[in-house]
Subunit: 242 residues, 2 copies
């Protein structure tokens, strides 16, 4: 293990849901000071993470795109991150920090966890939390996620019907992320559970392409970055006991 | 309903978990432009929300503390928010925006939901999402909250043992917020479920008073702003199928 005093730090920086104004002061400061910036890039070449942070990236920064077929459920594959680890490790061992751009928050459904698992305990790792798409969607819909003593369960559209039905039957508030091509199926599950009327659809929250509507009206060709919110029924007037 | 063209807007602004550097650019811009700023203040007078935003608040801004005994489970009471509604409504009707400071995110266990319920549909409401204590705790612990197709369930320390046991038995990742005086009881529930060894305790994340340790070592006199993280077991190397 390289002595931390001379080795560079791996710094995962949350960028928020998409609006560059939703970067934190700390994220901006960290990116502006970066000499090496890594970020996930789907194989079509356009990196959502990079596009959020672009205006804050120093011109002279070295860029390390981590090319990942993120829309393919069989990936991300270990090989991609093993290779990224080798590249990044060489830079860290040279005493230079590596900033990793993470859309949303690095540890909330973020691919940063694959790098974290490879560097934790071997190099210093800092994480700058970011605004998640979860709270951004709630803000767009002006819909409370959870309150008082209610629970909030985050599910994914990739879950099978049996698991979705079991989880959704547990009560509390729900958010279902990564809807994409699963919209019609997930909507049918919610309809059968009598939860469709309470469900709101939000896609690309805080981006110019943002859409928000009742789930019943949502298009079946939903993008990967779309979420369904199903608020629990909790007291909104503060008049009851917790 | 007042015509939106002349009425002021109610603007809920998420401030993040405590470190002022974790405010978003949009939050800072909104606070700096504010003429009237409301915020929850516990009855001991010190407002955590105000303390996070203090350095960005215009000197000439009018302040509206909403005094709430937040550590008393019988509150917040409707009367407090009914009174705040009257004060705020008068200002909005005069055409002035009212910025409401919200620690964390306004819609994630935030008291802002009580104001939202009173003004939604009657006045224009904007919400600036913020970094939650949830992702801040995960960043401090360098522990992924959820990944791939895993679920994340957020529970509260105020839940009774039966509900906690049922929820924790459902699988996935968990965060238990608002631990406070419930620490010993919640820890015992986790111990009985065989989840204690995987549990991490974080209090006052990102503040100078921040503490992070294995739950087994956590003090029983935990503050209200403390959280227990119980990560699910998901593939951290990207080598398996989703």
């Amino acid at each position: 293990m390289a002595p931390k005093s001379v080795s560079g730090k791996l710094i995962g920086v949350g960028l928020g849901p998409g609006d560059p104004e939703l970067l934190t002061i700390k994220a901006v400061r960290t990116i502006r000071a970066a000499r090496v910036i890594a970020y996930p890039a789907p194989d079509d070449g356009h990196s959502f993470a990079r596009s959020i942070a672009a205006e804050f990236m120093p011109r002279q920064a070295i860029e390390l795109p981590i090319v990942i077929p993120i829309y393919d459920q069989r990936f991300p594959a270990a090989e991609i991150y093993d290779q990224a680890q080798q590249e990044i490790e060489g830079i860290l061992n040279g005493g230079t920090d590596v900033v990793v751009l993470c859309q949303g928050d690095p540890l909330f459904y973020g691919s940063f966890m694959y790098l974290l698992a490879r560097f934790a305990g071997r190099h210093e790792v800092d994480i700058v939390p970011g605004v998640t798409s979860l709270t951004a969607c709630a803000a767009v819909a002006a819909s409370p996620l959870c309150g008082r003593t209610s629970s909030l369960t985050v599910l994914t559209g990739t879950m099978n019907n049996q698991l979705l039905e079991r989880k959704l039957g547990e009560g509390g508030s729900f958010a279902i992320v990564k809807i994409g091509r699963h919209l019609a199926r997930v909507r049918q599950v919610l309809r059968e559970l009598g939860m469709l009327e309470d469900s709101t659809y939000v896609s690309h929250a805080t981006l110019p392409s943002q859409r928000m509507m009742p789930l019943a009206d949502a298009p079946e060709d939903a993008p990967y970055f779309s979420t369904i919110l199903v608020p629990g029924r909790f007291d909104l007037h503060g008049s009851t006991q917790a």
